[in-house]
Point group: C2
Chain length 143, copies 2
Amino acid sequence: MGYSIGQVAKKTGLTAHTLRYYEKEGLLPFVKKSGSGLRVFTDVDLDWLSMIECLKETGMPLKGIKQYIDWFLEGDSTLEKRLEMFKQHQKNLETEMQKLKKHMARISYKIKLYEKAVETGSLEKAQTDAEIIKERQKIFPEK
Amino acid sequence: MGYSIGQVAKKTGLTAHTLRYYEKEGLLPFVKKSGSGLRVFTDVDLDWLSMIECLKETGMPLKGIKQYIDWFLEGDSTLEKRLEMFKQHQKNLETEMQKLKKHMARISYKIKLYEKAVETGSLEKAQTDAEIIKERQKIFPEK
DNA sequence: ATTTGACTTAGAGTTACCTCTAGACTGCAA
DNA sequence: TTGCAGTCTAGAGGTAACTCTAAGTCAAAT
């Protein structure tokens, strides 16, 4: 019914160092200490870590995550702020995804190009290949 | 038919500082200098910058990008390596996108939750709402 | 001819996010 | 009870990717 820092490190893939660092930065406000000073993590803390991971991996800086946690701790008076934060984050994320998709198309094109190049032994030859040029035009319609 | 560092900065959204930094790091091996030592960028350099942007925004560190450029400069003997690099990068990217999608679903859920919470003035009330619980189960089927 | 603004270099400083060290303490197993 | 892995704190160190400073050069406009 409680986890040591090492157990949580294994569960989350973070290091114990990082968990202490997160706590120091105010990202884990619910972690308790045992009588002898050892951290005792609960499932609530694991839920928070999972939310932190979600926000971090979608590009929110630790400061932003901390802001959210601080608002959470302030209680229901900050509900609008938190909603607004999530909405903004979602918007950023959608923009980001659009960009990623374009970049992926470009990388797929590069793979086709380099497959052709490896086949013929020459990048230049591949670049003048009719199929490749057609492919390229899909990704760079302006050119 | 050549661009100054300031013109390229405007075109790309990077600062002149950053462009010099990229050059120092070996990311812009084709940029020439005028007689008086000013950098002269060409369209080829803009193409490279655009590729650098693509790789950087898809999470490749500058070192990885430099490796690619170094291989490019070595010529056709590194075609396989470059193909392999792009394939690996594509794989990473696909994994990343899957993760992002999951995170986005979670953020959408949070928005619904907080919309409900703002409506009722209480996060706790919102969390016990039947619709919200159903929504939550879509994202956390295990719970 | 002078001013204005962009450009040059080398190198120091910044921010975010860890990552590690040292030296001490804890808790369980043999 | 001895040993050893795990944990503690405070604080230093590291890395990536910029970002800026200083001190000076260059070039177009007035």
